[in-house]
């Protein structure tokens, strides 16, 4: 089947045309990243003039120097790490035992508990009641609020529960006959057996935490606590209001465009570093999550 020589002329044309189209689509997916990377390494003058197309023009790292010398950037970077690591660990601490319990047939009221989880995927109270609730709980402007407030996701629980349900129950029974309690069954048998699913859920958590923007913007007023995404947004949106920065643009070594491009590059890099894992597990994950009740 894969031997091109066996193809008719029409088929060869079809295959080649198809490759060209895919190539175009792929380049269009890739190009914005190249463009941003090039922009971040060009001089502000060339960037403003719209001369950057593919490669850096007037190569300079001034924009990065500007970004990296900003304490607020480092602070938001640190905050994002706190939210990502803390939030992911918190999520796993809820989701893994919860999903395991929900997967056990002997659990009383199992249908009810599962419905309680699933219902949150169909119906949510919405932005305002959630916000007021966070405020009532005293979780505005708090690291803990961001970490705990988004710890559980119905989708992740159901994904992991489905995986646990796919493991034959005799593993649990064998371990219990061997003397293990439920915590030991989960820790010593089901978790090692579920590494791919747990990796998937972990990556889901990491990505959503790393990219989380809206609620961080809404719940955090204290600029000392904002994550990278909110900081980036502020830089892009508020640059014109920042007099000092606007004045410093006169240096022409960097510009609004090159500085925001540099921040974008800095915030993409961690995602790129874990991207090989993301690719491996996400495709499994969305198929696993293609979920049953």
């Amino acid at each position: 089947m894969t031997n091109m020589n066996l193809y008719s002329r029409g088929d060869k044309l079809f295959v080649i045309l198809n490759m060209v189209l895919i190539g175009i689509f792929t380049l269009s997916a890739l190009y914005p990243f190249i463009y941003i990377a090039s922009l971040s390494m060009s001089t502000g003058f060339e960037a403003r003039a719209g001369n950057v197309l593919l490669t850096p023009v007037g190569f300079t790292l001034e924009a990065y120097k500007r970004v990296l010398s900003e304490p607020a950037f480092w602070n938001s970077y640190k905050n994002t790490f706190i939210y990502t690591i803390g939030g992911t660990l918190m999520s796993l601490a809820f989701i893994i035992p919860g999903a395991y319990a929900l997967s056990r047939p002997q659990l009383y009221g199992r249908r009810f508990w599962n419905l309680m989880v699933a219902f949150t995927m169909w119906f949510h109270a919405g932005m305002i009641p959630f916000f007021l609730n966070m405020r009532d709980l005293g979780l505005l402007d708090s690291y803990f609020g961001i970490i705990i407030g988004f710890a559980v996701s119905g989708f992740n629980i159901i994904l992991l529960r489905n995986f646990f349900e796919g493991i034959p129950q005799s593993f649990e029974e064998a371990a219990r006959m061997d003397g293990a309690n439920e915590f030991q069954v989960l820790w010593k048998v089901y978790m090692p057996l579920s590494k791919p699913a747990i990796a998937t859920v972990t990556l889901f958590c990491i990505v959503s935490r790393w990219n989380g923007f809206f609620w961080a913007m809404v719940l955090l007023q204290d600029t000392g606590k904002i994550p990278l995404q909110v900081y980036l947004r502020q830089v892009i949106a508020d640059l014109s209001d920042d007099e000092e920065f606007a004045n410093s643009l006169l240096s022409a070594a960097y510009s609004f465009e090159t500085v925001s491009a540099a921040i974008i590059v800095c915030s993409i890099i961690p995602i790129l570093l874990i991207y090989p894992f993301l690719q491996k597990y996400f495709s499994k994950g969305i198929l696993l999550g293609g979920v049953k009740e």
């Binding site: 029974e173 219990r176 006959m177 003397g179 293990a180 030991q184």
Partner: protein, 367 residues
């Protein structure tokens, strides 16, 4: 008494009862096989003994201790599962040691126990391997190793051989039997395969629809089944069942069907049953093919002969129903093609009441 005692054990899921009061005493060191078709409650019964299912009613004692509410791990029983449930992320030695580690045994004890068990089961070379790298028979052995390493009072087997191919199954059957002889641990074994039951058991418990049909040694059940269910379940090929009516003959009772008649044993219960509709249970092995027509010959229509070497299976039709005969081939191949019928000794015919399916009392075939 040391052993396992079930008294009126019941299992219900909501209002649906699946096990209706099982009474069974398993003696110490005995090998008891629960056998029956799928859905007969045998696995559920085993799992209640293991503590994996809650017991809905009745009393379970192990070694004279009432264990209805005792957790599985504290019942001092071990179980071999149908799919073995070997932990795929642990190697053979870790799999065998799992239970001991959970129970916080000392390292030296664990090492010694694993060595001993792997020696008994011939697993010494494979201790470092993962289950995925083992053959079916080896996995089976590891599963047994995991059970015996804890030296439990009772072994429970839940269809442990059903995942193996036929050849390996025969081999492992013998190994289980040997192991039982060597260790002498009380064992309860569940299977739907009557051959396994016949070959392994000291005593067989035949179950059907959540009830015990009959308990006895393999030969007792084979020769003297109490009803048509047990009769049809044990033996391969299964017992032939022929509908008939009892009549009075010259030499005691006879069974009549489709214009033919067979002499039955002259026992009182049959003599008093003249006119009753019955089912004749005729084992394929108990009939004798005849070369020529004779007065006591039961005539059959021949369909097909399967020659298996030293013996042959003859598929025929009797009174409109399939009838199978198992016979030796040596020295009688010449008569097998086109013989008219068979004869059978009256006391080898098992007569059941057609309505109740129960046997008539007094029919005993000596072993």
């Amino acid at each position: 008494m040391s052993g396992v005692r079930l008294k009126g054990i019941e299992k219900a899921y909501g209002a649906v009862k699946v096990v209706h009061g099982i009474d069974l005493e398993v003696q110490e060191k005995e090998f008891v096989v629960l056998v029956g078709p799928s859905g007969c409650g045998k696995s559920t019964t085993l799992r209640m003994i293991a503590g994996l299912e809650e017991i809905s009613g009745g009393d379970l004692t192990i070694d004279d201790r009432h264990v209805n509410r005792v957790a599985p791990k504290d019942r001092d029983v071990a179980m071999v599962f149908q799919n073995y449930a070997l932990y795929p992320h642990l190697n053979v030695s870790e799999n065998i040691a799992f239970g001991l580690r959970i129970r916080k045994e000392s390292k030296e004890n664990i090492a010694a126990a694993v060595e001993e068990v792997s020696g008994i089961l011939g697993l010494t070379e494979y201790l470092e391997r993962r289950p995925a790298d083992l053959s079916g028979g080896q996995r089976q052995r590891v599963a047994m190793g995991r059970a015996i390493v804890r030296r439990p009072k009772v072994f429970l087997f839940d269809e442990p051989l059903s995942n193996l191919d036929a050849k390996l199954r025969t081999q492992m059957r013998a190994e289980i039997k040997r192991l039982h002889k060597r260790l002498g641990v009380t064992s309860i074994y569940v299977t739907h395969d009557q051959v396994e039951a016949m070959t392994l058991a000291d005593r067989i418990v035949v179950m059907h629809d959540g009830r015990i049909e009959q308990i006895g040694t393999p030969m007792e059940l084979f020769l003297n089944p109490i009803n048509t269910f047990v009769a049809g379940f044990l033996g391969s090929p299964p017992m032939n069942m022929v509908k008939a009516k009892i009549a009075k003959g010259e030499n005691g009772p006879v069974a009549e069907f489709e214009g033919q008649s067979i002499q039955l044993a002259a026992i009182p219960s049959l003599q008093n049953a003249v006119g009753r509709d019955v089912i004749l249970g005729i084992r394929p092995e108990f009939v004798k093919v005849v070369a020529e027509d004779a007065p006591d010959c039961v005539k059959i229509e021949l369909d097909l002969i399967e020659t298996l070497g030293s013996e042959a299976l003859i598929h025929a039709t009797l009174s409109g129903q399939p009838f199978v005969i198992r016979t030796e081939t040596v020295g009688q191949m010449h008569i097998l093609n086109g013989f008219p019928g068979f004869t059978i000794e009256p006391n080898l015919i098992r007569v059941f009441d057609a309505k109740t399916g129960m046997t008539f009392p007094g029919q005993v075939i000596e072993q």
